[in-house]
Amino acid sequence: MVLEAEIEVRRGDVTVAAAFSAGDRETVGLLGPNGAGKTTIVETIAGLVPAASGRILLDDEPIHDLPPERRPIGIAFQDGVLFPHLSVMENVAFPVRARGARSRAARERAFELLEWLAPGIDPGAKPGTLSGGERQRVALARALAGTPRVLILDEPLSAVDVSARAELRALLRRTLRGFAGPRLLVTHDPVEAMTLADRVVVLESGRITQTGTPDEIRDAPRTRYAADLVGMNLFAGRLTPLEAGAGALETADGVVTVPWPEGRAVGPIDDVLATLAPADVALHAVRPEGSARNVVHGVVDEVAILGDRARVRLNGSPRLVAEITTGSVARMAIRSGGAVWASFKAVEIHLMVERGPTDTL
């Protein structure tokens, strides 16, 4: 199953134009600032917003002329948009009932999905009594209930408490991976895009500015926005205690010293995500002596110039991206193939501690 979209939509004074595709079992993240047109694009694909021109194909079959109810698309809206007058179970059963199934069959399907995605939630409860995270779980179950061929998640974590976010992110990852078909994930959160998407489409002011895998965009962002938000260093791995207030994060290509997560018992923690802004990485010609806990020696892979800034990709342990001024690049004579030292403080690292299994279905 392949989804291809090439659409132009007018929204007030703004025209949103985008052409992209999502392959079978591929998660495409639509990433951009608020107002970039991300939601407009997915709502056009779902048939809720009329396109000024273009086409939407599903396995080469045009679906852009179909009314929304006949498009095989499951969508979890931002903030859920659960029907307030229906119970949790009735909400999840809605797409099944709407497509003509009997009430009993619809209920069975709803219970099955709720058991999997929202086990702690009373099926008889009204959506108004649920927390943001619970509403999102129900919205996810409802999006899947009609056995769609394309799955769309619109800002699934934006209305969710920070405390519930990590667990829900893990659930989203499992759900996305388990869905056999194209999946679209709308988000303004780079970490969400980088951790959940196979490919990222960066959208700014109604235009696609870059498309690529998370690694490609991190290594060579094409715009200031992409550089600032997407071009983060991302570390993932197992965290073990090192000393008071600090831990060692063992990633696949090196160990990073990070602050110990607040409120967590001292002991090994699996599936920890950490981000580090490239601007917080300092480069040195000689081994630095200072307070920075993390010092990496490596060979420069690439120097990408973006305005007055340069992004230096360093092949070390771990691999790093540093952002420095072009003046510094010239002064330090940094070029690809040359060796350089990098340092960054543990306190600059932002930790996200995931709970529960992440990659099992």
């Binding site: 709502e43 048939g47 809720l48 109810e69 948009v81 029907f83 307030p84 809605f94 709407a98």
Partner: protein
């Protein structure tokens, strides 16, 4: 903590409450309690009351059946002359009911514009029939449920209906399962007001349907007639209407009507 009310507000509110309650109290004071049974049978109270309830309920049912779709068209439709249509829908509220009755007469009376055809081709006569009383009452009371439902539809977040369409719901399914239940409170409040207005309808009914005991003589018409021959009986009939109205409003409570 209870709100502290300025004295001026309390004084004016008391004046308003007294003004509303005074006629009701006066009815109780002047009622011919010693010959209540006689007065009741003398003016045909039970016949008029049953007819009033039948006519007002039928008018309410028709108003909801036709008025809710009308409200939907007014709230969601985009067509030239929509504001003109809304003005026309509201007109019966503004118009003196007797004018509405005259209009109905020239439209649906035996020699009326449409009524002539109804009578000659189909043998249907509305004037001087209970059906005519229902028509006149519906004409006057329907705008209330239309306006209340339209306000509810306008206040409805469109995202829910869009979501329902994206979930595979056809236009009719979305209307039935999402739109209608979500405006149910406003619709119910409008229906109660429509019924209340229908129960009190007088002018259009007497003009269009006439004043025939057992066929078109509802409670307000019976009160009007009794006034001329038996003032005591008029008071008794009025009291019955007061008791029925208050009982229904209290029974429905603030739950349906928003009238707490």
């Amino acid at each position: 903590m209870r709100a502290r009310l300025p004295l001026v507000i309390v004084a004016l509110a008391s004046l308003g409450a007294t003004f509303v309650l005074l006629p009701v109290v006066a009815l109780f004071v002047r009622a011919p309690w010693n010959r209540l049974a006689g007065a009741l049978s003398g003016v045909g109270a039970s016949t008029a009351l049953r007819l009033s309830i039948e006519v007002s309920l039928a008018a309410t049912a028709i108003s909801v059946a036709v008025g809710v779709p009308l409200a939907w068209v007014l709230a969601r439709g985009e067509f030239p002359g929509r504001s003109l249509l809304r003005a026309a829908v509201v007109l019966p509220i503004v118009l003196p009911p007797v004018v509405g009755g005259v209009g109905l007469l020239v439209a649906l009376g035996r020699s009326g514009v449409v009524g002539r055809w109804l009578h000659d081709a189909l043998g249907i006569q509305l004037t001087f029939t209970t059906a005519g009383a229902v028509v006149a009452t519906t004409f006057v009371s329907m705008p209330l449920v239309v306006l209340a439902t339209e306000a509810g539809l306008r206040g409805l977040d469109l995202r829910y209906e869009r979501a329902a369409a994206a979930m595979g719901g056809s236009a009719w399914y979305v209307f039935r399962r999402v739109t209608l239940p979500m405006v149910a409170p406003q619709l119910a409040a409008g229906a109660v007001l429509t019924w209340a207005r229908a129960l009190g309808e007088f002018g259009a009914t007497i003009t269009f349907a006439g004043n025939l005991a057992g066929r078109t003589q509802t409670m307000p018409l019976a009160v009007f007639e009794a006034r001329q021959i038996d003032p005591g009986g008029a008071i008794v009939l009025s009291l019955i209407l007061v008791v029925v109205s208050v009982s229904v409003l209290v029974a429905l409570g603030g739950r349906l009507t928003g009238l707490r």
